[in-house]
Symmetry: C2
Subunit: 401 residues, 2 copies
């Protein structure tokens, strides 16, 4: 293997021990294979006599972007429903016509694994060309053993097919399937007794997720699922406090959750619980935007208690049909008033934390050589610009994509 | 010249005499040179024996997109100010540090015409790859004769350099230049007596625009400018009712304005005036979004009185650093609740009206062959998707870009 030296870079290491953005002027970064071997100012670069040198002409470089919360795999779409709603149809009328999340469940159940792989791959390409090198994908539209496993297998296959690392989460507790409408306890039992062991046996998910909400699952139901999940060695995470304060974040923290996600209605009490457990706050501005939400997540309290904040697309067909993580950087700054540095940390360093990944998210010795080169003149330009392309090159595992 | 037949198309003609989107199933469109010669269902296609046939494999086709309100030409940027504001600096502190619109005026005055062309061209490319075939560009950061003319010449040059039609508007009445802070009447006189005749003499603008607002120009000042502009044969248009109801839209309508733009605070009385004059309402969701505005433009009243609604990026370094007209289609539906058909009409048919162009904006016999092919399965998908690429090909003047 030959060393590769990327030089003449404005480097944003996101390694926050130092200055803002972990910025290094006129930097170099040395890669061997898929790992970073050296990072620093070019003037301090040791000799690597046989190295291949790549001149970046002063471009900015960041860690590869990490989209830590997506529902990228699903069947069908909700375009027709989107149009009907804008033409005046009520949510009731749409539900009666078979719309809403259950329409996605039906379409996902009807799709083959190959069809799910194909449709999600097409969506994924949009994210990859903008610098995403790691993506989390959840199940949750199958809602029975066969179809939840099918979704997770599709997600894994997407990771093998494309130059991206896929981290999977099992989200059986996403919605109540219609066949369990009158016996919800049985569905929770099905998750615990059959789905979780099957997912574990096939090694199909790193984490177990749930939707804790009036229209989702109660804290009591989620707790049963978390207990079973932890016994099987899964990490846990939770959709919490999106539409109301269910105290889901505190519950998740109790079980050492990697992250709690959405959080518009999060209380300071729950934040204190998250602080103890080291749980990341994942904010999803695309859903906030699409749902025209006006209740902001408690950014100031998260800052006050030093909770790491991550940002993701929440890419899904209903509440966040988003195919740009870069746009979420802008929305995090515009809608949530995160500083550009916070927003960029949210899709790099803190997104890695939200997935329990310690080998990426910052540019430092020993970390994965996942890097993005940007056509910008100031780090805040990634937050400032609304739409448009800024990505010059994506480097995944040391190789240009 | 050979005829070109584009066939196997899901055609959205936006010619609203017919069904929604002016949709034609399994359509063909025949182009000779830069004009459309025939449009219809393939089964009705006359014979063109020597024609070149292009199979579109069932892709959707729309008219070329028209961005009818931009400030694409400017010097410098406002990224630093954007970051400072998010780090807690007040507007006052930023103004004292030389920020705000006057920082753009300074940077624009200092830039050469070539520098303005280069920076705007880079921004323009983002719009072109997403299907924009006609763009309006305003002056308004020069605020003296020399620099206003320089901006307009740069805009014209951009039109010659790229495969896009550039329509220019003279916006001398954008802000009061610092050197006239204490004698604003003299600046209005300068516009009327020197700038307008100079712009007219060089043929540098189709329309004269202004910013009618507490922090801009009064209705009285705008009226003087409009009277002079009309005498010189210019069309007029106006930034109106963005931050307060100045009755600017009614004033603009009195002078037969092509469009009034922004309109969050527009009253029904002004809408009635616009109806009489056939003035287009140009809505700018990117500015609404960036400024975190909560006052919505009066969509229902505009519908009630059948006012044509156009949508544009308002691309500018301060209140709308937007480089995606496609994202504005989504924002128009998401933030303003326009139907997908209204949103698409807003960047095609009605955007052409807002620029006084009768030769484009719909796909019909005799119109310009400006067309876009889309990788979508439903017309509403253009509104539904947030970010990501959907454009397969852009055809400008009959040729693939």
């Amino acid at each position: 293997m030959t060393h590769k030296i990327w030089k003449n870079i404005n480097l944003l290491t996101m390694d926050n021990s130092e200055n803002p953005y972990g910025y290094i002027d006129d930097a170099a970064i040395v890669v061997l294979g898929s790992a970073i071997e050296w990072v620093g100012a070019k003037k301090d670069l040791p000799e690597f006599p046989t190295a291949q040198v790549i001149d970046c002409s002063g471009a900015y470089m960041t860690p590869g972007l990490i989209d830590c919360h997506t529902h990228l795999v699903y069947g069908g779409n909700r375009i027709d429903e989107f149009e009907k709603r804008l033409n005046g149809a009520s949510y009731e009328e749409i539900a009666k016509a078979g719309g809403g999340i259950l329409s996605t469940v039906n379409a996902t159940r009807q799709a083959t694994e190959e069809e799910l792989v194909a449709s999600a791959s097409k969506r994924l390409k949009n994210l990859l060309t903008e610098g995403v090198t790691t993506i989390e994908i959840k199940s949750g539209y199958g809602l029975d053993i066969e179809n939840e496993l099918k979704m997770l297998r599709a997600a894994r296959k997407i990771g093998r097919m494309h130059n991206v690392d896929v981290v999977t989460s099992f989200l059986g507790a996403h919605a109540l399937p219609p066949e369990y409408a009158v016996n919800r306890e049985d569905y929770v039992d099905l998750i615990i007794e059959h789905m979780l062991p099957a997912v574990a046996a096939e090694g199909l998910a790193q984490a177990v997720d749930g939707f804790c909400e009036n229209i989702g699952f109660t804290c009591g139901e989620i707790e049963k699922i978390f207990i079973a999940a932890r016994k099987l060695g899964f990490d846990v995470k939770l959709h919490a406090e999106q539409l109301s304060d269910q105290k889901g974040a505190a519950l998740a923290a109790k079980y050492g959750a990697l992250s709690v996600d959405h959080l518009e209605y999060l209380s300071e009490e729950s934040i204190l619980a998250m602080k103890k457990s080291g749980t990341v706050a994942v904010l999803l501005p695309g859903a906030y935007y699409t749902l025209r939400e006006t209740k902001l997540p408690p950014i100031e309290l998260l800052r006050k208690h030093n909770i790491p904040i991550a940002i993701a697309t929440d890419s899904n067909p209903g509440s966040s049909p988003v195919l740009s993580l870069k746009l979420m950087i802008n929305m995090a700054s515009t809608l949530f008033q995160l500083t550009p540095e916070e927003a960029l940390s949210g899709v790099t360093r803190n997104a890695a934390l939200a997935l329990g990944l310690t080998d990426r998210g910052i540019l430092a010795r020993g970390k994965k050589a996942d890097m993005v080169l940007w056509d910008i003149n100031h780090p805040a330009e990634l937050s400032y610009q609304v739409g448009g392309s800024q990505c010059l090159a994506v480097i995944k595992n040391g190789e240009v994509n």
